[in-house]
Subunit: 163 residues, 2 copies
């Protein structure tokens, strides 16, 4: 995807971001967020004041969005935390990978020195492989902390890397 | 401490809770929270709407406080998360242990089926020993995610147990 561009999100991106988030939330297979959030609830969360939100564009089409934030406050605020969402129609085209790399640069620019993911659903093998390939290490495996709609309680990984 | 009682916190406990939290925050050795929060900021956090706050009393004196909340939303909301603070003058008398056990019961009553701690500072060996003794398992060790005021970047443990 040589024409993929990533930039900070703007209010005019809200419709496109909701179009990405709604089916992901509804599927309930990857995010530990309410599956039945409406547009306003989902966007209020995604654009929380502490979040640095970006969008990935293929030409003029928003095909993905991510945010980073401080994972903890105070003495833990040098560690970033990121969440990533790719449009269903753009899966498998490197959008998440590009957003991941971009998010690491964004985090460095904001003076974060580490990235941590608190809950990577273990059954989301594509995500686990992607993040491992981008240098995120599995710190531990939390047993049964995610109720998968098809598989029941499944494990989730805590992942971490230095930036 | 046979006379230790634990009950839900009330607005009249605010002064006592702040007296416990202020030195802990200021020391900056255990909580990933801003060390310079004032009373209003600390209490707004401690009594966040999603928090179930309790206090431990030795006679009439509030010697500790804890809260539990859902650690994640949606498909992760069966996992509780707890934070515990003991008054400096009451250290070593089993207050934290009593609050820990009470918090597990509170969590069960609220239909949580697991407890997770996201950041137990590894240099806080008393806490690590306490939680291990109460059945919390070390899931993983996050390298350097906590900036200790004396030791610099130190590790933190992710701990988990079934309730």
């Amino acid at each position: 995807m040589t024409d993929l561009t990533i930039r900070p999100a703007e209010p005019t991106d809200h419709d496109a971001i909701w179009a990405i988030l709604e089916p992901i939330l509804w599927a309930g297979e990857t995010f530990a967020l309410p599956h039945d959030w409406n547009r306003a609830q989902a966007l209020a969360y995604w654009f929380a004041p502490a979040h640095h939100v970006h969008v990935a564009l293929d030409g003029d089409a928003v095909v993905g969005s991510y945010y980073i934030r401080a994972n903890q406050l105070g003495a833990g605020d040098h560690v970033a935390n990121g969440t990533y969402a790719t449009h269903a129609d753009a899966q498998g085209r490197g959008v998440a990978r590009a957003m991941g790399l971009h998010s690491f640069e964004t985090a460095r620019r904001l003076s974060f020195t580490m990235m941590q993911f608190n809950l990577v659903v273990a059954t989301n093998t594509r995500a686990v492989a992607l993040w491992t390939g981008l240098g995120m290490h599995e710190i531990g495996r939390l047993p049964g902390v995610f109720r998968h709609p098809a598989h029941g309680p499944v494990d989730a990984l805590v992942m971490h890397r230095v930036l």
